[in-house]
Structures are given as C-alpha cells and as structure tokens.
C-alpha cells in the first residue's frame, strides 16, 4: 500500500500537475496545426524533460502525445486537413459532419472516445504489463534477439505502402545504430575520427531531424498555407455524446481493443490503428452505406483506436524495452536517461515509480476532457495560427534542442544530415517508422545475437533450443511468410470466380 500512496504523491503535487497541464496545452497546439505530428511534439519536448525528475518528465510525454492525437481532429473537422496522420482515416467523415453544422458535436464525441480509448489502453497496460514482466524475467539473450527481430520485421510487414522501401528505411536506422564503439570488441565503427561519435549516435537529434526539420523543409518546399475556416459552429460539445456512446458502445470497445493491440505491435502506431479500426468498423456496421456521407459512427471506432494505440505502445516498451511506436522509441531513451531502465525489472524494483507511471496515464487521459472542451470552443485560434510564423520558431527549438542533449555541435550536424536524408526519403514515400525502430533496436539485436553466439559457441540451432525462444522464432518466420500466404489466399479465392459470375463482362 505504501508504494502505491508514494506513487500517488509523486503525481498529485503542484509541479507534476502543472507540467501535465502545460504539456497538454503544448500537445494541443502541435497536434492542431497540420503538418506537425505527435512524434514531433514529443521529440521537441525531450530536451526540456531531461531537466525534470522522472515522473514529471514521463507525465509531460504522455500528456503531450495523448492530447496531440486528439487535437489532430480539430483541423480535420474544420478544414478537412488532418492535424496528425492518426486523424487521417476519418477526416472526411468528421469534415462532412461539420458541414452539416455538427462540428462541436463531432469533436465532443471524438474527445470522449479518445479519453475512453486512452483509459482502455491504460487499463490494459496496468493489468497486463506486471504479469507479462514476470514471464519476461526468464528471458535470456536468445529471446531478446527474437523479440528485437520480431519488432523490426513487423515494422516492415505492417507498414502502409512499399515493403521494399520500408526495408531500406530500416537498414538506414540499423546502420546508424552501429556507429560508435562495438560493445563486444571495443572497436570503433563509422566514427570517422570524431570523438563525439565514439559513444554512438544519440537518437534525440536523429528524431528532431527526422520528424521536425524534415517537416520544416517540406513546408518551405510546398508553398501551401490554408487560412480560412468556412464553417461556423454553434452546436453543443457534449450534449449528444452520451447518446452516441450508448448507441455505439460496441464500436468504442472494438476500436479501443484493436487500437491497443496494434499500438503494442512494434512499428505500428496510432495512425495504422485508426485506419484498420475505421475499415473494420465500416465492414461490421449496419449502416455501411452511410459511411463517407458524414456518419458519426465512422469516427467512433478510429478515434478510440488512435488514443488506445498510444497507451498500448507502452506495454512492450516498458516490459521488454521494445518500442511499440515512434513515440515510445523516444520514451525508451528518456527512461534510460532517468535511470529507469525499461525491461521486466522495472516492475520488480520500481515500486512507487511504477504506480506513479500508471497514475500519470490516468491523469493525462482524464485531463484531456476539460482542456479538450476549452480547445473545441477556441478551435479557430489553433487553426489560424500561421505556420509561416510557427515553422521558424520550431527551427530555433530544433537547433537548441539538438544541442542541449550533450551540449555538442556534433549533435546539430547529426540533426542536419538526418533531416536532409529523411527529407529525400520521405518525399519519395519511404516510411520513417522502420528507420527509428532500426536505430533503437539495432543495438539490442546485435548485442543479443553476439552474446547468444558466444554462449552457444557459434551454434545457430541454439536459437531454437529454449521453448519461448523457439516460439518467438517461429512467430518471426510466420511474419515473414505472411505476405506470401496472403497472396496465395487471394489467388485461390479469385480463381473460381469467373465460373460463378457469368454476367461480368
């Protein structure tokens, strides 16, 4: 009981609560401005969290990411432009609702679904992680090798778009992870005689380059600036929400559980969760024909799913140290810096710290209701903040943020080079998530492989000799073969069709 009360005390104090409110407002701003993502918000926030205690630091990240994901719906509803990629799946639906004069009702329902989704994901995190951690305590380097490989493989096979490009993006991240002194032999790799690179590439400047500088460059290359809001909203924010929740509680439950599951899969985050939840919701709906015409059911599954995905991504991050999405990839770095090494021991040794972490999730999700309510009323402020003023400010934050991690100019160079590479790759539809996972998991993959080989004297079959290791190995192979199976299944289903459809010409 005492650790629990200590945990509560770590959250319910003036400093942490103030940080949560400030972070939520920051997340609101970044999420509501099209082109700025929740990951970018977190990447920009990290340099500041370095100077906080661990609980407010994590609270800031949780509150920012949860709020940014909801706030992405605001420009989506008013302008038909998603504020973050996680809102893209149902942006058409919510904008059409807004055109019918139901903008605030739509956003109010979005907000309630986001909160329920976030709380659902948090409940799963609280209930599942400790027992999963007990299993993970028995894991050795063999299991961690497969887990890392599973994470990297799913980042390629679950990615939307070309798998080949996702794979190439992954190799970039993996290559970056090899820079620095080799953990086993101590040999320097790809350091080019630069002393700052001996300790490896710090991934905060990489994140800032990949998600912030890249977006700034995209903005200057595009010339687009949306400035008018054609819709005026006078309806009530929460009046219709209880009715919608009663009618569509199954959708909320389905979206939340799907979102948590997809969020927990490495490489797949809130955006993919929203797309899949929207598609599943549509296929199971009784009013399928109403989808795409401004149907409130169309936003419920997906807006629950994207916020539950944010919480779900923390399960593998905390239990195994394997990030579920790009945000938790940053979080893992922050946890290490704060001395809270992610992995099963966090639940054994953490005590009050873990209770504080869980409490932070509940508070950060619940605080979305009042702040979100005010934000819906003040939507125009967020939408009309001109990006031509904001982007230069963000650039200044990028430079100082990258420098602040190690007080090193080298980190600014790293941010610049990575930003340029990411700009070229992103403009040609290469996904960024595999690169980040490669950078974060590359070290785990290599070190667990090398120590396993040293233990087994170079015997590769030992990767299948332990039961959990063998099961994880089989799962990895299954993920690799999945596209082949799917292709075969589609071909088999398509073949008999011509005989049964004589009318087709």
């Amino acid at each position: 009981m005492e650790p629990f009360l200590q945990g509560l005390a770590m959250v319910f104090n003036a400093q942490t609560m103030l940080v949560i409110v400030a972070a939520a407002i920051f997340g609101l701003f970044v999420g509501a401005i099209p082109g700025l993502t929740a990951t970018m918000a977190v990447a920009l926030l990290v340099p500041i969290t370095f100077y906080m205690d661990s609980t407010p630091a994590i609270a800031a990240i949780v509150a920012t990411s949860a709020m940014a994901i909801f706030a992405g719906d605001i420009p989506g509803t008013y302008l038909n432009i998603p504020g973050t990629p996680a809102s893209a799946a149902y942006v058409g639906e919510s904008h059409l609702l807004a055109r019918k004069g139901r903008a605030r009702e739509t956003l109010g329902t979005n907000l309630v679904c986001s909160v329920i989704g976030g709380l659902f994901g948090t409940l799963v995190l609280v209930l599942v992680s400790p027992s999963l951690a007990e299993v993970a305590l028995n894991f050795s380097s063999f299991e961690y090798f497969w887990l890392a490989l599973l994470g990297l493989s799913s980042s390629i096979f679950i990615a939307i778009g070309s798998r080949l490009k996702a794979f190439l993006s992954l190799t970039v991240g993996l290559l970056l992870s090899t820079v620095g002194l080799d953990m086993m032999s101590g040999a320097p790799r790809f350091t080019f005689g630069i002393p700052d690179l001996m300790a490896g590439i710090n991934f905060i400047p990489v994140m800032i380059g990949m998600f912030a500088l890249n977006e700034i460059m995209m903005f200057y290359g595009s010339r687009k600036e949306t400035r008018d809001v054609p819709i005026t909203a006078k309806d009530n924010v929460f009046r219709q929400a209880p009715r919608h929740i009663r009618t569509y509680w199954r959708n909320i439950l389905r979206g939340s559980s799907l979102g948590t599951l997809i969020g927990a899969l490495p490489g797949a985050g809130a955006d993919i969760a929203a797309w899949i939840a929207y598609a599943l919701g549509k296929s199971r709906s009784k009013h399928r024909e109403a989808y795409g015409t401004g149907h409130i059911e169309g936003i419920i599954d997906a807006s629950s799913a994207n916020n539950s995905g944010i919480s779900g991504a923390w399960v593998p991050a905390l239990v195994f140290g394997i990030p579920g999405d790009t945000i938790t990839a940053i979080v893992i770095g922050v946890l290490y810096m704060k001395g809270m090494n992610p992995g099963p021991t966090i639940f054994m040794e953490g005590g009050s710290q873990v209770y504080a972490l869980f409490t932070v999730f509940f508070v950060a999700n619940l605080i979305m209701l009042p702040i979100g309510y005010l934000a819906i009323h003040a939507s125009k402020i967020f939408i009309l903040t001109p990006r031509k003023i904001l982007m230069p400010v963000i650039l200044a934050f990028c430079i100082v943020g990258a420098f602040a991690i190690n007080n090193s100019i080298t980190d600014i160079w790293i941010m610049l080079v990575i930003g340029l590479v990411a700009f070229v790759l992103a403009r040609n539809d290469f996904p960024m998530a595999p690169a980040i996972l490669g950078l974060v998991l590359g070290g785990t993959l290599e070190n667990s492989f090398m120590s396993s080989m040293l233990k087994s004297g170079g015997d590769l079959t030992s990767f299948f000799s332990r039961p959990i290791s063998a099961a994880l190995g089989a799962l990895v192979i299954l993920v690799w073969l999945l596209p082949l199976f799917l292709r075969l299944y589609r071909r088999l289903r398509r073949q008999p069709q011509p005989q049964h459809s004589p009318r087709s010409s």
């Binding site: 230069p392 290599e446 040293l454």
Partner: protein, 159 residues
C-alpha cells in the same frame, strides 16, 4: 526515375558499408566480429537498392523522354527554398560562437518568416521575443551553455 536513382544510391551505399566493415578486426573466439552486422546491413542495402532500381528499369525510358521535354517543369525553386532552413542551421553552427546563439536564432527566424511573406513588423517582433525567450529558458533556467557570442562581449568591452 527518382526511385531508380535512390535504388542505385542504396546499392552504392551498401557496397561502401561492406567495404568499410571489412577493415574491422574479428574476435579471437568467434569467426565473426564487429564487421558482421555492418556487412549484413550493407548487404541488405545493396540488395534492396538493386531490387528497387530494377523494379523501375522498365519505366526509365519513358521517364527520360518526359524529363527531356520538361526539365524546367521541375520545381527547382521549391527545392531550393526547402534547403534554406538547412543553410540557416549551418549559419548557426559557424556563426553562433561569434554572433551569439540568440542573435543567430533571431536572424534565422526573421529571414524564414520574410521568405513566406510574413509582415516585417510582426516577423521582427516574433523573432526578437522568441529568441530572447528561448535563450532565457535554455541558458538561464535549464543551464545549457548556449554561446553568448564574442562579438557582443568585445563590443561591450570596447564601449
């Protein structure tokens, strides 16, 4: 066309990575060492790059014909403007020791705002206020040693 070139870049990059990795020492107890992972990654880059380039070979003649007729259609101006933020980062790296972090940031922000057509008075006000705020937040509150600039201090001394 772009995918073909990017595929080639990955192919060459992968080859370079493998070549550099071969120079790393091997460990005495195992047949492999620090070169194994970089070599595998390099191999992946090279094979993936080759596959990407090959998958676009068929579209290449049409792309070259189209490019021959419409080189000017490519948005070079947009591309150049998108590189301005990078140029300003290099400016910060090179000039911040002399001019100081806050002045460099203010100048960079001002230029970027003016490029996109923001009003001069507003750009000036935002650039100065934000640069001062960032400097205060990071330098005074978070104790990050942002460069103060030798120019300002020498001017003050001279005065």
């Amino acid at each position: 066309m772009k995918d073909f070139l990017l595929g080639l870049a990955f192919l060459i990059g992968g080859g370079v990575v493998i070549a550099v990795a071969q120079t790393y020492p091997t460990m005495p107890t195992l047949e492999f060492g620090p070169s194994l992972f970089p070599s595998l990654i390099g191999g992946g880059m090279a094979i993936g790059g080759a596959l990407l380039a090959l998958s676009r070979v068929r579209e290449l003649p049409a792309a070259i014909r189209a490019a021959g007729g419409g080189l000017s259609a490519y948005d070079y101006r947009g591309l150049l403007i998108s590189l301005v933020p990078c140029g300003l980062i290099v400016f910060y790296i090179l000039a911040s020791e002399t001019l100081g972090a806050s002045l460099c940031m203010a100048l960079s922000m001002l230029l970027l705002m003016l490029i996109r057509g923001a009003k001069l008075w507003m750009s000036l006000a935002v650039a100065i206020v934000v640069a001062a705020l960032i400097y205060l937040l990071f330098s005074r509150y978070l104790l990050i040693p942002l460069p103060e600039g030798t120019l300002l201090s020498s001017l003050t001394l001279a005065w």
